[in-house]
Structures are given as C-alpha cells and as structure tokens.
C-alpha cells in the first residue's frame, strides 16, 4: 500500500522534476543533458517577448483576482441573508459559470463581445466630438480581465460561502445585541473570520488566471499572455527556454498554492 502511494507520488512529481532538471541543461538541445548551467534562465529573463507576456499575465491575474475577491465576497455575504428566487437565481448563475466548459466560456465571450463591439463602435464614432479620434472597443486585456473575473467570482463565492456556513452565528447576534451597526459587525466580526478564506480565494484566483490558457486563447485579442506564448513556442518545438519558463511558473504557483492551502486549513481549524 505504501509502495503504491509512493509510486503515485513519483508519477505526479517526476514529470515536474524532469522539466526542472532539464531547465539547467547547458546544451542547446532540450532533451539531452550536457552539463549544469543557469544560462537558459538568463536568456529567458532577457527575452523581451517573454517579459511582455509575463507582464500581461501578471496584470491580468492581479486585476481579475482582486475584482473577483471583492465582488465575490460581497455577493457571498449578501447571499448568506437571502432566501427565495433571488438566491436560487444566483445559485444557478454560479452553477452555470462553474459547469460550462472553459472553452465554451471563451467562445461565448469572444463572439458575444465582438458582436456587441460591432454595434457600439459606429455609435461611439458618431457620438464622438468632431476632429478627435473616437475610441475603438476591441478584444484585449480588458476583455480578458472581464472574462477571468466572471469565472473567478463564482470560485470566490463558493470558497467564502463555505467559510460563512461554518461560522458561529451567535457571534454576529451577540454583536448586534451589543448595538453594533451592521457595518461595525461586518468589519469587526465577520470580516476577520472570513479573511483567510478571502485571501485563499484571491491566491487561487490569481494562480488560475495566471495559468489559464483556453479562455485567454479566445479572448485575449492581440495580447499575448505567458501561457499563450508557451503554447505557441511548444508548437515550434521543444526548447530549454520552455523548461526554464515552466520551472519558474511551477515554482511560483506551488508557493502561492501552499500558502492558500495553509490559509484554508488554518481557517478551518479555528472554526471547530
């Protein structure tokens, strides 16, 4: 039994290990180890295309995780006190957002937004003051952030709600018995208790957005995120550069994820 578990862990981590190992390859060929070197990291980090893609990915991940955490938490807190059709409708929305495959979300966002933009652009051009260049709505970083935020909001609502359900209601009642305003109760009782869940939701959202390929593939327009860059370089062939990017991306997401897990675990224990 223990041996079996050990083998599964090997299965899970050997591929990651191999990538990391070959990222230190001194040779030019991706799959032939020719001595140890960190030169591919240097090359990768000085490649302007990689750095541009990284910057786009970081901006998109940070903004959408932030929006999703704020709006998702707001919705989760409100849903806590609601019954009836509004609650059912919201549960449905969250269910749809999670159930529909990412690729269909990407497609829908692409053709939905392009159709809306095609209607709005002539209108904007007509309304814009003469002589000035009217803004042109198009797919790009904005549409990507909006699409990620939509999906991640559903994720944050689920995570924060799980924490709210496990929360001791009597504390909130005690607080309002002691004449705290609803805002005061929220800031001093509810928020500190759900904060680990919000932070974990933020970190998970960040990693999800940062690693997402399929939605970005459709929605990013002419922008290139890091996963899109990696995907198109893999198409052109396996290079040590991809190993280096892969190792860095995996390391950063591993760190964030372990932090998120610890937050969720710690938060979970306190409520018991």
């Amino acid at each position: 039994m223990r041996l079996y578990a050990f083998c599964v862990y090997l299965f899970l981590y050997i591929p990651i290990g191999v990538i990391a190992l070959f990222s230190f390859n001194a040779g030019r060929h991706a799959s032939q180890m020719q001595g140890f070197s960190t030169k591919w990291y240097g090359k990768t980090l000085s490649n302007p295309f990689v750095m541009d893609a990284l910057e786009t990915s970081l901006i998109v991940a940070f903004t959408s995780a932030l929006c999703a955490s704020v709006f998702g938490t707001m919705a989760a807190v409100a849903l806590q006190g609601i019954r009836g059709p509004l609650r059912t409708a919201f549960d449905m929305l969250i269910y749809i957002a999670v159930m529909i495959p990412g690729i269909v979300i990407g497609i829908a966002t692409l053709i939905g937004l392009v159709t809306v933009f095609d209607q709005l652009n002539p209108l904007l051009a007509a309304l814009w003051p003469e002589g000035l260049n009217p803004p042109k709505l198009r797919m790009g970083m904005g549409s990507l952030i909006a699409a990620h935020t939509m999906f991640l909001m559903a994720l944050v609502v689920i995570i924060v709600r799980a924490r709210l359900v496990g929360m001791d209601r009597s504390l909130i009642e005690a607080s309002s018995d002691l004449y705290a305003t609803p805002m005061g109760t929220f800031m001093q009782v509810t928020l500190p208790m759900i904060f680990p869940a919000i932070l974990a939701g933020f970190l998970l959202s960040f990693t999800f957005s940062f690693d997402d390929f399929i939605i970005a593939f459709f929605v990013a327009g002419s922008e290139t995120t890091l996963p899109i860059y990696v995907f198109s370089s893999i198409r052109r062939g396996v290079t040590p550069e991809i190993n280096a990017i892969g190792t860095m991306v995996l390391s950063v997401s591993l760190l964030l994820l372990i932090a998120a897990q610890l937050l969720l675990q710690r938060g979970g224990h306190k409520s018991k």
Binding site: M1, P15, F90, I111, D211, I245
Partner: protein, 283 residues
Amino acid sequence: MTQRTRNWLLLAPAGAWFMVMLIIPLTVVFIFSFGERAPSGGVVLAFTFEQYGNLPARWAAFKNTMTLAPIGTLSALLIAYPLAYFLAVKANPKWKTILLVLVIVPFWTSILIRSYAWIFLLGGRGIPALLDVIGIEGVRLINTPFAVLVGIIYGYLPLMVFPIYVSLDKLDKRLLEASSDLGAKSWKTFLQITLPLSIPGIATGCMLVFILLMGEYLIPAMLGGGKVFFVGNALVDLFLQSRNWAYGSAVAVTLVVVMLITVTIYMRLIYRLGASREDVSIM
C-alpha cells in the same frame, strides 16, 4: 438603509457581471447556432437547423471525446482510489495533511506545462529511448490515444483523489473494527462497508473529471498531435481557423447539451445507488 437594499447593492456588481459576461454571451452562442455563415466570416441571423444538420461532419471529435472521457475518468478512478484509501485510512496522521496537499497542489498548477512535460517524456528521446536501451525498439508513444490518456490521468488524478479521500476520511473507523471483530475478512469489510460508504466521493470525483474532460482542448492538442482530437479541438478550429461561427456555435451548444444529459443520467444512477443529494455536490 434596510437590509434588503443593502443585500441588493452587495449583489449588484456580481449579478451585472454574470449577466454581461456569462448570460448574454451564452445567449449569443445559442442564437448564432441557428444562423447561417456569412461570406465575410461572421453570422447571418436566421432560423435554420442547417448547422445542426451538419454535425455528423464532426462526428469523429464527438466520438473521441465520448470514448476517451469515460475511459480517462475510469482509469483515474482506479489509480486514485487506492491512494485516497491509503491517505484516509492507513497513512500516519502526522503526515496526512502534507501528503494530501502534495496530491492537490499539482492540479492547480499550469496544465499546459504539466502536459508539456509529457511531450518531453513520451517523445522520441524520452521513454521510447529508454525502452530502446533494454531492447524494446520502435515504440511510438507521442501522438497516440495512449499519450492522451496518460495526459488525462496525469492532469486529473488530483481532482479524483480529493473527494474520495474526503468521503473515506468521514467514514467511522469503528465500523471497520467492528466488522473485523465479527470475523469478516478484510476484503469483505472493504466490499461491504468501505466501498459503499465511499460512493458519494467516487461519484463527485468522476463527475468533476468527466465534466472537465468533455471540454478538454490542451491535452489532445499537445499529446495527440492532431490525430487524437476532442470536441474542444474542433471548436478551436472552427472559431479561430475557419471562422465558421454559426457552425461552431452549433457544435458548442451540442457539447453543452450532451454534457448536461450525461450528467443528469449519471446523477439519477448515483441517487439510485443510495447517495443523498447533499453528498453528490460538485462544490
């Protein structure tokens, strides 16, 4: 401000966002699926089932998805179950949390890079080269259904282990002791107590993996090399290469409908097996 107004205000941003970025786009896809292809690559609105009539042209993609998704789900289940059992029942409690985190964490890291790792391992200079050394020659692994299956199992194993672990962990260990005190053999205890009580976890895990597999694009694109393709690959082709939005929308709607039907039938079966509604939850 009444509580009601406050709740409305709190829900407004999320609600509006879901409306604009989810419901309206999905509605557009639905409407376009009844349209006709415009010569310029867009869609002429119409009410025709022509696009749906053309679905057989992409039959291979549906067939691949509907065979490899269940096979992948089952294989992941067979590999995940013993591990989940080990973690929940046999593992040293001191190490349990860290071992569990080690299983879950890969799921949240980039599937792109994890599939790429298998291009590396299954490609000519990876495992086939090793097999060459021990005398098995000419094995081709990359760009085969097998490679896609390995990628699927590798990608989705964590998602299968977790729910099964949760249901096994909740299981009252005294039941197992009672069973063996009463003289039951260990395999009998497993078949009569452990397995039935872990059905909710199995059901959740299978459903999660199956749903995600239905919309899979990356794994077949990277490990199937254009020979093993899913509906997802057909969709990318239709929307990003041939720009046939009307037909692509029909394929997307069909994918979602097939998925919903499969999941509904599946849930019915699971309830019949005795799991309660709360146990089978994708959340």
